[in-house]
């Protein structure tokens, strides 16, 4: 099916999906000339990095998660991250220790992190719901804890901002008032200590991309709504957030990707691996592209 997609913008592609919007928004947080890393289980971010490398950030050092390949050019996205598919075309590869050393020495410009709880300071929990009494074991954060401290900047993302009711009618907020466990450090610790007083290399979360909007973090390190999708509202955000996010003085609309970007994403992800990250109800959303 993907082979039928036009290789150049010829006007056939007129809309894009939420996934493609999010990939584009994530890619815009990448600066050219910096070393950027994604973890495993993050196809939206994998695609965002490849989009950035081929658009505004040709000199970014793209380090692929799990394989640690440098600037790979994978023929397609594999469903798991540590597959040889994913480091085809890499000019070299790092060892696990070298990748983390780069961050610890202040050489990693950006890392992407997520969580099953994300609080107003950008702390993320991927370890467990309930702590120390464990209610639900989460898979763990890999190296996210270390990189949240060491990487110069963080972009957070989640595709589950919307707080749905569970079978018992409870709503569990992904953007939560409090993280049960801080796996990845945001701007303030559980006991209110400021990140900047800890002497870490990194400056902490700078952006958060969700399926409802785009957030930045203000001078206090507090999450602030910055932009919405064409089909979401401030009310959607407020209703689905477990705390009161601050609002930018002007809330923008997230611009859609260019057609060539959409087509590139579709070519690079013919198996639609990234759609595994998108909830069924968000699969229907379409956005007009330029």
């Amino acid at each position: 099916m993907e082979a039928a997609l036009p290789r150049r913008g010829d006007g056939v592609t007129k809309t894009c999906s939420l996934g493609e919007m999010m990939i584009t928004a994530l890619s815009r947080t990448i600066e050219d000339g910096t070393l950027v890393f994604h973890g495993f289980g993050s196809p939206l971010v994998q695609l965002a990095m490849h989009v950035a490398k081929r658009t505004h950030a040709p000199r970014m050092v793209l380090v692929a998660g799990a394989t640690y390949g440098i600037d790979p050019d994978p023929p397609f996205l594999a469903p798991t991250t540590n597959d040889w598919v994913m480091d085809r075309g890499a000019s070299s590869a790092l060892g696990i220790e070298e990748l983390f050393d780069l961050a610890a020495a202040g050489r990693m410009g950006r890392m992407f992190l997520s969580g099953l709880q994300i609080d107003r300071w950008g702390n993320c929990n991927v370890t467990s719901l309930g702590f120390p009494e464990l209610k639900m074991k989460l898979p763990g954060g890999g190296g996210g804890c270390n990189l949240s401290c060491d990487a110069a900047h963080l972009t957070l993302w989640t595709t589950a901002h919307r707080a749905l009711e569970d079978a018992k009618g409870r709503r569990r907020f992904r953007l939560a008032d409090d993280c049960d466990f801080i796996t990845n450090l945001g701007h303030r610790t559980k006991d209110g200590k400021l990140r900047r007083d800890l002497g870490h290399r990194g400056n902490g979360p700078q952006w958060l991309v969700t399926e409802l909007g785009l957030f930045d973090f203000d001078d206090d390190g507090h999450m602030r709504l910055n932009a919405l999708y064409p089909d979401t509202s401030v009310e959607d955000v407020l209703m689905n957030t477990g705390f009161k996010p601050r609002l930018a003085s002007q809330i923008e609309i997230i611009p859609p990707p260019e057609r060539l970007v959409v087509e590139f994403i579709r070519r690079l992800d013919p198996l639609r691996v990234h759609e595994k990250e998108i909830r069924a109800e968000d699969m229907r959303r379409r956005f007009t592209i330029a």
Binding site: F40, G41, S42, P43, A66, T67, G69, P75, F76, A78, P79, T80, T81, N82, D83, W84, V85, D87, G95, I96, E97, F100, A103, A104, T127, S128, F131, L134, M136, K137, L138, P139, G140, G141, G142, G143, G144, C145, N146, L147, S148, C149, D150, F181, I182, T183, N184, L185, T189, K190, K193, R195, L198, G199, H200, R201, L271, V273, K276, E277
Partner: protein, 319 residues
């Protein structure tokens, strides 16, 4: 005991049966499992360990999946210090691992990749600890009361000190190796090199044992023989994880595994463990049960070109 001297192994012929390798893992050992996620995990050796009913193991590692999930289901674990155990976005959270940790059968002592790296490095360097800057401010120190802090005498800043981790056994699956124990790992080595150097014993299954002279011609990471305690030639020894260039990740088998696991411990036992682990007398039996040569040919087909490779990973692809 991070300051013990670690042995070296100089037997010129270290070849043993897979079961003999498994027999070297003692109840209660701290083990480091090589590979990661869906790649080059020593699955045949883990199944052999489960068949021997070894218990009380602690696992340390970075990003893992079916390997640790299977050990959890098989009752071999009592403590997990992994940084991630799951099936990424592809299938999701690890069902058996979750159950084991949520029930309290396995104690959760989650760690993080770089913390593990530093702790292994301490062991490799014969030091009691390594300093690091990250982790402070997160909740991990509350899981690890053994961590210490210090004020740096050079800069006055606060640093975290993490103690050496010296696994009793590293379990590694390598593509190539020789009878003496030299190993060659192709593709991402994950933490295998660190595990090999930091551990007291290294047990390696090898896809293809070749003459030492042949190893010299192979690209990849070379692990010198003296780190390695015993080896066993086990073709398809990483199945259902990938061991390129021999075979790709068996996604349909993993889906079968996952579906059984999701249905609960009893179902998983009946539909998976009793068939593929305890129902198979040995690795040859296992290979027959997963489809023998046809499966091997299917998983080797990745090298036939991009379309063939892609086909292996499509939803609904046949096992």
């Amino acid at each position: 005991m991070p300051t013990r001297s670690r042995p070296i192994y100089t037997d010129p012929d270290k070849r043993k049966s897979l079961d003999d390798l498994a027999s070297l893992v003692a109840d209660g050992a701290v083990i480091a499992v090589g590979g990661g996620l869906s790649s080059r995990e020593p699955m045949a050796l883990l199944r052999a360990i489960l068949r021997r009913s070894i218990t009380g193991l602690t696992v340390v590692g970075s990003a893992h999946g079916i390997d640790i999930d299977l050990l959890s289901a098989g009752g071999a674990l009592t403590r997990s210090s992994e940084s991630y155990v799951g099936f990424e976005q592809d299938f999701g959270m690890a069902p058996n691992y979750r159950r084991a940790l949520e029930s309290g059968a396995v104690k959760a002592e989650d760690s993080c990749c770089y913390t593990l790296v530093q702790q292994l490095r301490a062991a490799i360097q014969g030091l009691p600890f390594m300093p690091m800057r990250s982790v402070r401010g997160t909740s991990f120190p509350s899981l690890h009361p053994e961590y210490r802090k210090m004020v740096c005498p050079f800069t006055g800043e606060e640093l975290l000190l993490v103690p050496a981790i010296e696994p009793d056994v590293a379990l590694i699956h390598a593509q190539y190796g020789d009878a003496r124990g030299n190993l060659v790992i192709q593709g991402p080595p994950v933490a295998d090199l660190l595990f090999a150097k930091a551990s007291r014993m290294v047990l390696a299954t090898i896809e293809e044992i070749v003459p030492t002279s042949r190893l010299g011609e192979l690209r990849g990471i070379h692990i010198p023989y003296f780190y390695v305690t015993a080896v066993s030639e086990v073709p398809m020894g990483a199945h259902p994880t990938a061991c390129y260039p021999f075979y790709a990740y068996d996604r349909p088998h993993t889906e079968l595994y996952y579906d059984a696991a999701r249905k609960g411990a009893d179902t998983f036992c009946a539909e998976y463990l009793d068939i593929f682990v305890h129902g198979a007398a040995d690795h040859a039996d296992y290979l027959a049960q997963i489809g023998g040569k046809a499966t091997r040919a299917r998983l080797a087909s990745w090298s036939g070109g991009l379309e063939a490779w892609k086909q292996l990973y499509r939803d609904g692809a046949m096992a």
